[in-house]
């Protein structure tokens, strides 16, 4: 791996020998770095994009929703403290339990772990910032604005009331005529967007911005967890994107995807929802497990035992978790073969969890545990999580699940898993990493109170629920009759819930008293071994070190001093702007000096209008929603306009005389990676749509309408192949022909978008001529769903074509500026593929 012949990029590893360079660094260099990275002043603070800020805001917002959803839980526990209690009306209770689940899962858990990634990853990887800082700032603002507005629906009695998994037909217009269900469907639209934006950011960040020398085998275990986490979002979220889109179309337009009377099937929703929903649990758990695997070694002062086993366990969890979704459906009457498969997979998924638990225990045994607050929280997490895992094994036993399913036993199980697997690790992380962001660490004395109140409250609240479940108490009941013996377990649970809340309250007070971010940090008080404990300013580390081991700060005692003295990579700002190192995905060999964006308002406006689009759609202000959506797109384009902008110098000295290019293209560039990942998301939505189509076909007993004549299919295929060819040619002419290249490239892109639209129009019109209508049958609904979905892509392609044409007009296309056309070409290529699939499948299967 050290041999140049084996080098991934042609980079000579011998160049690493030049570091640490001989000091001292020139005067004024540090001041310049500080000036470049300083946050905007005054009201413009809102435009900050630096992960030091956005990460803290992000974690803060997630914790705000944790507290809000926790308050909802307390209201519910008050109602359930006594039988036939009248604290809440039935309708209020139904809204509140739905919001508790939805807010905890979508507005707290996923954003919280994503926020942890945004805050920690650049520091751990030795990057100045994440590769797309404006994207994560955009995701944060869309989440905060949209999330708060969504939460406020409760105040007006408009909150969803069908449970956080929104099963149709209860969530259909027939049984949920109000806009409450639309709030849920559209309200989580922007959560889906921000989760995927975050996942792209994290994948590209982990694979492309690691410090030089941080090969995959020296990558921190937390980064591995975040990488698998983000990969799982890419695979799982498309399913819920499709499901929510289909249900909203059924509600708004009457297309019967889930209506069994018209050829739909309510179980289609359950398959789509749980294909997302179960991996979701591991999506939440993995980053928290990554944090555990980082904190346990730190508090035990010894490397993680079985580092590779733990990493393999992450990968195995990610893989197996996609084979367990139907264990939420054991009581729906699934065929025996599926039951066997899903029961086995549900058992198997507990193996990687067991490996991690015993790796933590072995680490504790090999070191010397410190019982400080992070230490207490990791131990508490371990115990609670193991209990939740074991009741999970119980529920994976199908016959037992027939009894336990949809009862308080499951309520107990899922809270043990989520609190043990995610909430406690998160509190461990907050107490452990606070000194990295805050000038004062959090109080140890308060921390102990927080831990013991939460730990005791947790068991007092949830342990009795196992019993109330076996006593016959179903979940999601707003009350229970007197004389059913349910009084005592419920009263005890309520007491426990308030104890838990008292712990959270002590934590809030501790934060208010001690958490002081954005200044000098308190430093490495826990003696951690990762790069995040290097001395930092707003520019992150003074210089970017070369990593030679898993715990660089433990293994290289002089590292912190040399990094702070600027003796490693990028001690200055060679191009005069924000920048970081782009490295190769496997060996982390330096590839590019990546120019980074500066704060601007456009992503904030884009976020405001994105949230506005979804919220206005919900309240059926369609014209205003369209305007808001249009403005969001304009802001996005404005934000992109100054990207793909070569620096003044082709190469720059990044320290030690090592020169790196400032502009790279193709698969080496970070934009190419982001676009490819985004297209995988689109492809997964398409795959789930294919599944839905075949599923409804297998359920529908009626005869399906024969497709239009196949001659039309031939035309659609030809047009889509033309789209792909033109996209390819646009790239080729731009690089090969200096003079006519830009014009021809723009022309080809415009023509490709036109051909795409033509293929789509033929597809749509010929189906309409068959007499198939989307409202009449499951087939009609699915065929027109394919067409609608593809129609959105035709629209995006048109916008991209206009954008490329404008860039040509302004002289922004040239052989030296090809990334825009490359990315548009990738997108068009995908559109051609999607056009082919959505035309071929419904026309050839089941056929005439």
């Amino acid at each position: 791996m050290t041999d140049r012949a084996e080098s991934e990029t042609g980079f000579d590893p011998a160049l690493f020998g030049r570091f640490p360079t001989d000091g001292p660094r020139p005067q004024g260099e540090l001041a310049k770095l500080e000036a470049i990275w300083c946050a905007p002043k005054g009201w413009q603070w809102i435009t900050v994009i630096n992960n030091n800020y956005v990460g803290v805001y992000y974690v803060g917002a997630a914790m705000l929703f944790f507290v809000l959803a926790g308050v909802l839980a307390l209201i519910m526990r008050t109602q359930l403290a006594l039988p036939m209690n009248g604290v809440l009306s039935q309708e209020s209770y139904n809204q509140i339990f739905t919001m508790h689940g939805t807010v905890m899962m979508f507005l707290f858990a996923v954003p919280a772990v994503e926020a942890l990634g945004v805050l920690l990853l650049p520091q751990m990887l030795g990057a100045r910032d994440l590769p797309f800082p404006r994207l994560s700032a955009y995701a944060f603002w869309a989440y905060l604005i949209g999330g708060l507005a969504f939460f406020c629906s409760l105040l007006f009695g408009l909150a969803p009331n069908g449970g956080w998994f929104m099963y149709p037909p209860l969530s259909s217009t027939t049984y949920s005529p109000g806009i409450n269900a639309d709030f849920w469907l559209l309200g989580i639209g922007f959560i889906e967007i921000s989760a995927i934006a975050g996942a792209i950011e994290i994948i590209v960040g982990v694979l492309k911005t690691r410090a030089p020398g941080m090969t995959l085998d020296k990558m921190p275990v937390f980064a591995w967890a975040m990488l698998v986490f983000a990969g799982m979002i890419i695979i799982a979220f498309p399913s819920v994107i499709l499901a929510t889109t289909l249900l909203e179309m059924e509600r708004a337009l009457g297309w019967p995807f889930f209506d069994s009377a018209r050829g739909g099937d309510p179980l289609l929703w359950q398959h789509l929802f749980w294909f997302f929903g179960h991996p979701e649990v591991y999506i939440i758990f993995l980053p928290a497990a990554g944090a555990m695997s980082t904190i346990v070694p730190a508090v035990a002062r010894t490397p993680l035992v079985g580092h590779w086993l733990v990493v393999l366990a992450f990968l195995a969890t990610g893989f197996i978790s996609f084979g367990v979704w139907a264990h939420h459906m054991f009581t729906t009457g699934l065929p025996g073969v599926s039951v066997g498969f899903f029961a086995s997979a549900s058992m198997a998924v507990s193996l990687p969890a067991g490996i991690q638990v015993f790796a933590w225990i072995a680490t504790v045994a090999s070191g010397k545990m410190r019982f400080n607050t992070p230490g207490l929280f990791v131990l508490g997490s371990l115990l609670i999580f193991v209990m939740g895992g074991l009741t999970g094994v119980m529920a994976a036993m199908v016959p037992f699940d027939w009894q336990a399913h949809d009862t308080y036993f499951i309520v107990a199980h899922l809270h043990y898993v989520l609190i043990g697997g995610m909430v406690f690790p998160l509190f461990a992380a907050i107490y452990y990493w606070a000194p990295m962001s805050s000038s004062r660490p959090l109080s140890e004395r308060s921390g102990r109170w927080v831990f013991w109140l939460m730990f005791a409250g947790m068991h007092i609240a949830f342990l009795p629920m196992h019993l109330s479940g076996l006593m016959g108490m179903p979940r999601r009941v707003y009350t229970y009759a007197a004389g059913r013996d349910l009084e005592w377990p419920n009263l005890i649970s309520t007491v426990g819930a308030f104890l838990f809340a008292a712990g959270v309250l002590v934590w809030v007070i501790d934060m208010a008293r001690n958490f002081r971010p954005f200044g000098q940090d308190a430093g490495n008080i826990h003696d951690g071994g990762g790069l995040e404990w290097l001395p930092t300013g707003l520019y992150s580390t003074r210089s970017i070190p070369i990593v030679t081991s898993l715990y660089p700060l433990w293994d290289q005692p002089k590292l912190a001093r040399d990094v702070e003295a600027g003796l490693y990579f990028l001690p200055n700002a060679p191009t005069g702007g924000r920048e970081t190192l782009l490295t190769s995905p496997i060996n982390a060999e330096p590839q590019q000096l990546l120019p980074m964006p500066t704060p601007s308002g456009w992503h904030v406006w884009a976020a405001v209008f994105t949230a506005g689009f979804f919220l206005l759609l919900t309240v059926q202000a369609y014209a205003a929603a369209l305007i808001s959506g249009g403005l969001a797109i304009l802001c996005l384009l404005r934000w992109c306009w100054f990207l793909d902008h070569p620096a003044r110098f082709k190469t720059a000295d990044v320290g030690g005389g090592v020169r790196l290019p400032t502009y790279i293209t193709g698969p080496a560039s970070h934009g190419w990676w982001a676009m490819t990942i985004a297209l995988i998301v689109c492809g997964m939505v398409l795959a789930m749509a294919v599944f839905s189509y075949v599923f409804l076909w297998s359920r529908d007993t009626r005869v399906w309408t024969p497709p239009p004549p196949l001659i039309w299919l031939a035309m659609i295929v030809a047009l889509n192949l033309l789209v792909a060819a033109l996209a390819f040619l646009a790239n080729r002419v731009l690089t090969r022909r200096a003079q006519s290249g830009p014009l021809l490239a723009a022309l080809f892109v415009v023509l490709a978008a036109g051909a795409l639209a033509a293929g789509w129009t033929i597809d749509l019109q010929t189906w309409r001529q068959t007499g198939l209508a989307p409202q009449l049958s499951g087939q009609g609904a699915m065929v027109f769903a394919f067409l609608s979905w593809h129609g959105v892509f035709v629209g995006i392609a048109a916008i991209m074509a206009i954008y490329v044409a404008l860039r040509w007009l302004f002289g922004h296309l040239a052989a030296s500026r090809i990334v825009t056309v490359q990315l548009v070409g990738l997108f068009l290529g995908y559109c051609a593929f999607q056009g082919l699939v959505s035309a071929l499948l419904p026309r050839l299967f089941p056929g005439a």
Binding site: Y167, L170, S260, D265, A362, V386, L390, A481, G483, R699
Partner: protein, 320 residues
């Protein structure tokens, strides 16, 4: 009020119905539950013990634990053995309990409605012979097949002392087999959230020994036989339009939206397990069921006078 609203004994939670089986479809689940509880406690003890040694044990013990060997044994070897054994046990049991109904087995169609249970007894050809609501009568000592359907949203039928639960899904028909070994009343409740008053959607299975079941059946097949003394109540029933939603066989009340009331007086509870059934609660229910079970589909009848209510309650009570 609270005494009046107390749940019937069949819905009591102690002893926990899951741990108090009354038939061959529930007994194996009971055994399974205890086996699983045993495994969980055992594994928890092993983990606690290992963690205790790892934290506080003698140096040599901790050294023995502090390596990848523990991860392999504890995280892989131990669970693979335990889980494989459990999986074989679980899947065998699943298969054994999932047998299709045998020919000639009694068939009862139970349809989930928002928020009550429509019950119909079927003959061998699958025709409905008898309609009822919120109570399922079965003979003891033989398996009974319930055809589960839904007329609106997804519900789930769960009688924990007789077996596991199974969902009622629009457009599908699921078969749940139950058997009670002893005569008695077995409570159950809707387990899948079905909106509004989902919390107040209970039902009771009444198991009779076979001879008594035959007598019950013969009695129930008779049309309504109100006593002459309650004809005033019957008139109120007709005048108030109750027959638009309810059927009373043998009268001109033929509505299908709500529960069949032909033998409502014989039922144990009102409003799907919400109230005990007597003339007082009947009057209260007719007058304002919305206060008792908010959101249910029956409107309140504030127009009926106290006298009318007493009369209609007496009429309904007499329909046994």
């Amino acid at each position: 009020m609270s005494a009046e609203r107390a749940a019937p004994d069949s819905l009591r939670g102690w002893p926990p119905p899951v741990l108090d089986p009354a038939g061959p479809f529930a007994a194996p689940l009971h055994l399974l539950t205890w086996v699983l509880v045993g495994v969980v406690v055992l594994v928890m003890l092993v983990v606690l013990l290992t963690l205790g040694v790892a934290l506080f044990g003698p140096r040599a013990w901790r050294k023995a634990l502090g390596g990848e060997r523990l991860v392999w044994i504890g995280g892989m070897g131990f669970p693979v053995v335990v889980l494989s054994a459990l999986l074989v046990y679980g899947l065998t049991l699943t298969a054994r309990l999932s047998d299709a109904p045998r020919p000639g087995e009694m068939l009862i169609r139970v349809t989930g409605e928002m928020w009550w249970w429509r019950v119909a007894y079927l003959d061998a050809a699958g025709r409905e012979t008898l309609q009822d609501a919120n109570e399922i009568h079965i003979p003891t000592g033989q398996p009974v097949a319930l055809e589960l359907e839904s007329s609106d949203v997804i519900h789930s039928l769960w009688i924990p002392r007789l077996g596991g639960k199974l969902d009622m899904i629009p457009g599908r028909r699921n078969i749940l087999r139950l058997q009670a070994d002893r005569p008695g009343e077995y409570g159950g409740q809707c387990a899948e959230f079905c909106g509004g008053p989902h919390a107040l959607m209970a039902l009771i299975v009444v198991a009779h020994d076979p001879a008594e079941f035959a007598a019950w059946r013969a009695r129930s097949l008779q049309p309504a036989a109100p006593q002459p003394i309650v004809t005033g109540g019957a008139r109120v029933f007709g005048r108030a339009g109750c027959g638009a939603c309810h059927t009373v066989r043998g009268t001109d009340a033929t509505g299908l939206a709500g529960p069949d009331l032909t033998h409502v007086g014989a039922r144990r509870t009102l409003g799907a397990g919400v109230l005990p059934n007597n003339p007082g609660t009947l009057a209260g229910w007719v007058s304002n069921s919305q206060a008792i079970k908010p959101g249910n589909r029956m409107p309140a009848y504030p127009v009926l006078s106290g006298q009318d209510l007493r009369a209609v309650a007496a009429y309904l009570d007499s329909l046994e």
